[in-house]
Amino acid sequence: MLRGEAGKAAGLAMELLVATAEAEDAPALLDITGAHIDGCLYHGQAGFDFARTIVERGGRVKVPTTLNVSSLDLLHPDLYRGPAHIAVAARELMDAYVEMGCSPTWTCAPYQLPTRPRLGDQIAWGESNAVVFANSVLGARTSRYGDFLDICCALTGRAPSVGLHTDEGRLAKLVIEVDVPTHLLDDELLYPVLGHLLGQVAGTEVAVLVGLDHRATEDRLKALGAAAASSGAVAMFHVAGVTPEAATLNEATGGRLPSREVTITVDDLTRARRSLGRGDGPLAAVSVGTPHFSVAELGELARLVTGQRTLVPFYVNTSRDVLAEAERQGSIAPIERFGATLVTDTCTYITPIIDAVVGVVMTNSGKWAFYAPGNLGVEVAFGGLGACVDSAVAGEVAQGAEW
């Protein structure tokens, strides 16, 4: 393949893959059963030039491959408020990846699709929140694949056999004791805040969290992981007694002594919560669904907003597949009657959708709170989904209960 006999695109992909594998000290490449591509989001000419190079060389993916969010909402194109020439380039980039044989899923939460990977599957995923979810919650095995490398893996069906692809690389080196009153485990806001701290504490290390229980549902672990992969380079965590490779603390660490043990207290969490929502001022908008809302989260939002009306623009990010399912279940009509704007295929923090705002934008997402100030230049208020709805109805930021 390296010599190009399997096609010029696969040859280039293999050349880049081997060079990266060498940089990572990988002893070999392994076969993968799927890929998720982050490179379809437009960041400028370079990503586009690379995709065109692959297409012109006849590149076709070798394994089932899903696509991450892009810059455009193809179902609601009027939402885009950016420059027209960027929209054209972004659309051509999306088309290039579809031309390579990728599925036009356009979601940052491919783990919410019916065909998600299973325990032990070797995959190559991009998108930091998807990577951490696949490893931690599904028990599938992927490194953090950057743009370009993700499609190189998909074009070759191979990935470097290193790190989180190996048994050894998945063991927790760091034990984090979550020392909070048990009633806090019912508070959805705990999870993104804990994730924000996890990223700061763990950096790139695999940690095991102790002190959570069955209340750490998939959606809460999604919020936790997304925040951890934003404030740090976390690609995997365990939750003792909850996640699939951590039936016990001992299983998570492989029976070895951890290199570090850290305790997180309510005081730590309170400080982190404040640091995520420094915004002060009138409420300009609300944005939820980063990562893309699940069917269950849309159901919960529908329940919260029924019979109410938002006074500010209220954006709900989700995928086209989840939207269709939630529509079948009757969750979308109440959300639309509430006055919310459904955003699919993209997300409000990566592309110009929210109008120029005076005041703060409220979110329930640790990831959105982390990136939006830099990306959009907005101030953020941070609260749970209930507080977001209450604020939208009141037209001013309603803080949830203190911890």
């Binding site: 990266t20 982050d38 370079a46 930091s128 694949y145 950057g146 743009d147 370009f148 993700d150 380079a233």
Partner: protein, 135 residues
Amino acid sequence: MVNPERYRVLVGGVARGELLRLGEPLSLWGGLDPATGLIVDRNHSRVGTSVLGRIVVMPHGRGSSSSSSVLAEALRLGTAPAGFILSEPDAILVIGSLVANRLYSTSCPILCGPEPGGWAGTWEIDHNQLAQVPA
């Protein structure tokens, strides 16, 4: 000063520039504006600093897997660092440098190893070495 360390070469090449010690990791996506080369991550202690032409010294990458696209775009636009010294390997930066080299013949060597003992003046990456250039 003499820096006796021999570094692991993640991406080969030669580069010259002042060192920029970030102290903490930076996600280039959401953290670096490729149009200007300025650090825009408001959570980062070096926000507002330019990486253009500097040899960036940091523990490892952070955050988004889109950082490889941002590095490639910054290399295309000429706003990128001259090179990187990382404490840990980072495949996301490596692939960004390699792809920009294939597309635009740019050079951005990335070495892995300890931070150098001194900071002042101009430094040079040459294969597996990082040395201060005599004034």
